[in-house]
């Protein structure tokens, strides 16, 4: 489990984005299946998270950022590069949720 402060910040960002009470959002929630974010919404959320934590998230790292907890673990890894990142525990089955474009 990622650092609680990071999880809370991400939940706060999500709560603002989704306009819902932060207490109803859990670390285990799946961004798409539980919170109803489509691929564009995930990208908007990550944009917000990049700003909150002063990060740039490469496209390749989007794979696996499927739950609130996995996003938090990833952010924690990026803030402390010595530690393993969420990328290594990514679930490939979720890759599609962040790669949808029509253009």
């Amino acid at each position: 489990m990622a650092d609680r402060a990071i999880v809370d910040k991400i939940i706060q960002a999500l709560a603002e984005y989704l306009k819902r009470d932060a207490s109803t959002i859990k670390a285990a929630h799946h961004l798409r299946d539980d919170l109803g974010l489509d691929s564009m919404a995930v990208i908007e959320l990550l944009y917000k998270i990049e700003e909150t934590f002063d990060l740039q998230i490469p496209d390749q790292d989007l794979v696996g950022l499927a739950t609130v907890g996995s996003v938090a673990s990833y952010v924690e890894g990026r803030l402390a590069p010595a530690k393993p990142t969420a990328k290594k525990t990514a679930n490939p089955a979720t890759a599609k949720s962040t790669k949808k474009r029509k253009a």
Binding site: M40, I43, K99, K100, R101, A103
Partner: protein, 418 residues
């Protein structure tokens, strides 16, 4: 009875060649026009996730337009002007012999005059000197600047329209020209698709949308790879394509060479999402079906599809699914190619450049390769895709174009029979 509509002239400005003969030679050789963006002078590319694009490096307004018309318009409209001049010359249509109000101009453009647009906005916000905003800012960024300048340069005084539906813009321009001629509003229409917005802000915007390929920044020629398993987003391109379309009676009267017949068109909306297509592909299949119906062409006559195929994960998979749903067991027998594998995604120009490739495929029986189709993605495997050139006598062909805003277009072209 509605007039038959034919294509009699072609012109192109593309990352693989300025001029149709260079473009087609490069296309048939499977040459990639994708290269590294070295900088957005004066600042470096460090912060950009994607660093590759289909850039046109050897365009000179003086050389390719050669008149004062080019001075007051943005890069995309200069491309439009150069392409339409070539198309007009290729068609042999002499404007001084035409009734000017019977010749129209219909342009498809997605982004428009972003070179000057970005520069002027930046200067205003930085220096806060409104009196220093360039007097040409408004005429240049107004989205019909290209259709305006093409009319001024050619003397075409008929319907003068601009269609902006993002990446499907110029497929609709071609379709609307078809309607325009069929219903007798014009004898001929100069159709153009143009965009030139590999600019710092637009490029950053597409990066932020996570729409662009970023995996092949070190190997730019490999970045645009429609239907391949390794694809990871589209590659921005710039350019213009132009087609002269006219009624068959008008073409016959002036003894014009006919490349192909423009036989039908459909325009639909998925009414679904700004940037995501419906995953089941039903709307794409419906659009193709409606275009074939409008053309009175049976699916069994379709021998070639110039796919929209931008090289995004979802887009290519949806289009493949739609082709399979519509053509069923014939789907693997239809030759398919993706022009964007060569030039990148030229946005508003994409439909017109794809239409040129389709027209030439019908006319020559040669189909250009789909570059980088090295490892077919099982999600979009279609038998007619190839990284090699193909030879085929084409009876009818489909051109697909889909755009942000839930927008779809399909155009049917046919081998011309008098």
């Amino acid at each position: 009875m509605a007039s038959r509509v034919v294509i009699t002239g072609l012109g192109v400005v593309s990352p693989i060649g300025i001029g149709v003969s260079t473009f087609w030679k490069s296309a048939m050789a499977g040459q990639s026009g994708i290269s590294t963006i070295t900088s957005f002078d004066p600042f470096p590319m460090d912060g950009y996730r994607s660093k590759v694009a289909g850039q046109i490096r050897n365009f000179s307004a003086e050389q390719h337009i050669g008149s004062s018309h080019g001075d007051r318009v943005d890069r995309y409209a200069q491309f439009a002007l150069a392409a339409s001049r070539e198309a007009l010359a290729d068609s042999g249509m002499e404007m001084e012999k035409e009734s000017p109000h019977r010749v129209g101009v219909i342009v498809g453009a997605g982004m428009g005059g972003m070179v000057m647009g970005e520069r002027e906005i930046t200067q205003l916000y930085l220096h806060q000197k409104p009196h220093r905003v360039h007097p040409n800012f408004i005429p240049v960024i107004t989205l019909n600047s290209a259709s305006g300048i093409v009319a001024m340069a050619t003397g075409a005084k008929g319907p003068n329209l601009t269609i902006s539906t993002a990446c499907s813009s110029s497929a609709h321009a071609l379709g609307q020209a078809w309607h325009c001629i069929r219903t007798g509003q014009a004898d001929a229409v100069i159709v153009v698709g143009a965009d030139a917005s590999i600019t710092p802000l637009v490029f950053a915007g597409f990066c932020s949308l996570r729409a662009l390929s970023s995996k092949f920044n070190e190997q730019p020629e490999r970045a645009s790879r429609p239907f391949d398993r390794d694809r990871d987003g589209f590659v921005m391109g710039e350019g213009a394509g132009s087609l002269i379309v006219e009624s068959l009676a008008h073409a016959k009267k002036r003894k014009a060479r006919v490349y192909a017949e423009l036989a039908g068109y459909a325009a639909t909306s998925e009414a679904y999402h700004m940037v995501i297509p419906r995953e089941d592909g039903e709307e794409v299949a419906t659009t193709m079906k409606l275009a074939l119906k409008a053309a009175d062409v049976s699916p069994s006559e379709v021998d070639y599809i110039n796919a929209h195929a931008t090289s995004t994960n979802i887009g290519d998979a949806v289009e493949s699914k739609a082709i399979r749903a519509l053509f069923k067991n014939r789907a693997d027998k239809i030759a398919i190619s993706a022009t964007k594998s060569l030039v990148g995604h030229t946005l508003g120009a994409a439909g017109a450049i794809g239409a040129i490739a389709t027209t030439l495929a019908i006319h020559t029986g040669q189909i250009h390769p789909t570059a980088n189709y090295d490892d077919p993605d099982p999600d979009c495997r279609l038998g007619g895709l190839s990284r090699d050139p193909q030879e085929k006598k084409i009876r009818a062909a489909l051109l697909n174009a889909f755009g942000f805003g839930s927008n779809n277009a399909a155009v049917v072209l046919k081998r011309f029979r008098a």
